[in-house]
Amino acid sequence: MSFVKSQKPNSLYISNEKIRFRKIAWYVSLIIGSFIMLLPFLWMISTSFKLEDDIFSIPIKWFPDKITLDNFKRAFEVVPILKYMSNTLFIAVGKIFGEVFISAMAAYGFSRFKFRGRNFLFMVLLATMMLPYEVTMIPTFIVWSNLGLTDNYTPLILPAYFGAASFIFFLRMYFETFPASYEEAAIIDGANYLQIFRKIFLPLSKPALITIALWAFMGTWNDLLGQLIYINSTEKLTIQLGLASFSSMTGEVFWGPLMAASLLALLPIIALLLYAQKYFVEGVKMTGVKG
């Protein structure tokens, strides 16, 4: 009589309702999480468009009665944000070419040639990825300062023209996936190694090069310590330095303009992430971190 009832539920079988319930739970929890992740951004945006009275109102007015651009105007009056952004941009653009091109060259050398000491040098390269930046920072600063090149972008840009260990490591892995037949055919056609590098390797590794160019850009845009050490004059400040000094000189009351300035500083990075999302994802997949 109770045959059907007593049948144990098969553990392999999941009912449609259960699937639907799990899917809803998945969406609900991810949406709540997303809201928490986005909350600081929303708070920043909301503050930067609010009148001062609304900024300091309790309870929070997420949508103020009146939207104002005053905060942006005042931020621009206090700090030349666009000037600072273009200073950072200048450093970033100056660095990227060197970091990408020289790193690619070294990666090509490490991946496609057998020369004496190659493996040893590659071990050294790996060791410098764990490099004690704090150890070299002070001696390097002293040298630049003796050369009279502090308060100058040279110490921030020039080292990029000797490549970056992590980029070399990344590109070497990428180059090693290319079959040897690529070069063999080119050599038969009479191409030299530089031509092979420029005409075959660089064009074929465009996605990887774009990825490291993005990393190089983000690194420069978000760097504070390096720029803090070398740059002093007001007109040479970068966006990070400008924001830091804006924040320390205005104290607590200036939240509107501070949020407006922060928003402007973050916009290029957020735009870049949305626009070039696949390169960030690809980059991590490439480094692959094989366990």
Binding site: S11, L12, K23, W26, L30, G33, S34, I36, M37, P40, W43, M44, I55, F56, I60, S103, Y108, G109, R112, F113, K114, F115, L121, V124, L125, L131, P132, E134, V135, I138, P139, T140, F141, I142, Y161, F162, F197, M218, N222, L224, L225, L228, I229, Q240, S247, W255, L258, M259, S262, L263, L266, I270, L273, Q277, F280, V281, V284, G288, V289, G291
Partner: protein, 283 residues
Amino acid sequence: MRKQSAGFLFILPWLIGLVLFTLAPMIAAVYISLTDWTIVGEANFIGFDNYTHLFQSEEFYKSLWVTVRYALLAIPLIIATSLAISVMLDKGHKGVGIFRVVYYMPAIVSGVAVAIVFKWILDPNFGLINSILTFFNIKGPDWLYDPDWVLPSYLIMAVWGAGGSILTYLAALKDIPQDLYGAAMIDGAGTLQKVRFITVPMMTPIIFYNLIIGIIGAFRKFTDAYVLGGAGKEGNFIMVYLYEQAFNHYNMGYATALAWVLFAIILTLTIIVNATKKYWVHT
């Protein structure tokens, strides 16, 4: 032969840079750490005085303790959070791409702007968190202005930015053979058991990698701490202390000695963690 020299030429710029910007400064750093150099004036050789002063300095122990305490709490929190997010995001329901960007975004926007936004969020009177707490009739703490609440303030920021490693976890999750889950299901394992006995063990290599990165990151934490500070010097992370010694007080010798000690700490921790690898990392 030709092939040999050509390869060497391609790595030559990097090699020159290695000598100029790594090896030479490292050798110089050994010497500078043994002097009383303050940029202006002569550098006098003072032996290991900088190191002895360092190990007697209360400020050093304070900043070391601030940093270690942060590392001990923040790293497990970050790993647990990002692992949980990754397991969720691994499911391929519609819209997963958008979620991935949303969770990844806080990690990519770092720097001073984010620190300033958090300073405002944590404002004791009108900040986001305390305003919300007031709404529920709870009197929020003074966060960065109360020595006891500085560490929690930094932990909140750390967890918010935890998404940085989700891409690496997601890539690793894709590599877990699906039949393991099938087999577990036949044995009657529930979701939590599957995570506990399959996902986590299979993810240990990548957890290990992120643990190392996390340790290095904690000991080199600078930007947030420089901008936010914290009452009672509770936000004086070791890198901030180093920066102040070198570039505010110009104690170049002392700061370089500190840099070596910091490097030794990071190296020792890495070696220790590496030695534990065989006990918990799945191969």
